[in-house]
Symmetry: C2
Subunit: 245 residues, 2 copies
Amino acid sequence: MNAGSEPTNLRRAADEVVADIEARIASGELKNDKPLPTERELMEEFGTSRTVIREAVAQLANRGLVEARPRFRPVVRRPDYSTVIDATGTIVRYMLNEPDGVLNLYRSRVFIERGLVRDAALHATKEDIAALKAALARNKAALDDSDQFFESDMAFHEVLFNTSRNPIFPAVHKGFSAWLAPHWAKMDRSRERNLANYRAHKAIFDAILERDPLRAEEALVEHLRGAWEFVKDTFAEDGVDVPSL
Amino acid sequence: MNAGSEPTNLRRAADEVVADIEARIASGELKNDKPLPTERELMEEFGTSRTVIREAVAQLANRGLVEARPRFRPVVRRPDYSTVIDATGTIVRYMLNEPDGVLNLYRSRVFIERGLVRDAALHATKEDIAALKAALARNKAALDDSDQFFESDMAFHEVLFNTSRNPIFPAVHKGFSAWLAPHWAKMDRSRERNLANYRAHKAIFDAILERDPLRAEEALVEHLRGAWEFVKDTFAEDGVDVPSL
DNA sequence: TCTCTAGTTTGGTATGACCAAATTACCGCC
DNA sequence: GGCGGTAATTTGGTCATACCAAACTAGAGA
């Protein structure tokens, strides 16, 4: 992009170790779910101090390539799409402190899910329909148990994300759920709310069944808009003013 | 969520330091773009060894809250949405090694951009239209300079992402561009290709102008589908078989 | 006021040591 | 011989110290 007078990022010794271990994981030499060699072994192998090895392992852990529980041997973890989402977790959570953060995130979620239900209405397979139907049934069965309903509610939306047949989307849904959950947990819940949500889900499902993308999208938007009004209230309690969708 | 018989994730000493510094950044005590205290200061302040301090700083760096160039004092960086994207960079790149990774990512991109052009056709403001028009003009002006056209091509799509009026989307676009760019860079380019792309952009723009979401979406899909065929070729060279969109 | 330089500070790395928790080896008992 | 529990060993987490080279700072000189 720009000429070569840059600060010429020096290489840290740990970076080399990281790259090497990364390669070993990719090549399969270090197998999934198996522990890394001990720090002392690595240190001898790379001819560096434990300081460097530990920094390297920490980096790998932060990238999600290994899982490093304190006091335990780090374990190799071949990353998948939800690893990517997890990696963003702390920063996202940090940015959600600002109310606009939640709003923007929620809007993104609505945007994506709108597209998903449209596509579902157009292209949903028999299996998709069956999965939606099952999720819907679980909603209905959980009407009287708000905790359980909450779970089955998320599960219904997850099915929507699964219809994309693109593994990135379920991972994204997982992220949305995790990030927005704290606010949803504060929401008031009641049988009436559950019933309203169930009916909203059913409206979406029916529209998909009838292959009506427009109506499916509308139903979804109304559903999520309604939910947002309740999330808003959890902010209002803190005296924070949040706009509607 | 579950009772307390878990592996009881011990707290690492560094975590406390991380949390504390995080709080100082959030509170503004540590100001943006200003250097962190020296490691030796922090170590005295927290009453721990430099080992712990360094590990904490490394964590903060990995989360994007500070920028730590080797040999320089770490600098506080208040995270924004593209920080989140950057944080995923290494893992995403890692997963793009598998051809399915690129395919899934590209499909996600198409999915999102489809929604964006639909919405643009429905709700684009005068300013959006003007920005698109300007981007289009830059495409046309760069027809004969493939490097410049490539840039203006990405810029056109970026404008599409901007129409969302949600700062998350431009950040996502930045991610898509960065992750997919390596493959696009290998693509053959020529005046004809540039011209075809320009015309595709124009078709999208025209459809938006005429408030025709359906046609806008179709034009976009055809455009991106065409581009994918060329990306495919870069895989075919490596003997990797990649399906169509 | 600016430039160059010598001195100081600071991050990167290497050692070596110690602790507590985790793992392994071992042993006696059913 | 298989098993459960205990002792010995290994391993990750932390500390203290030292040294180097690069970055920074202050002061001399033009």
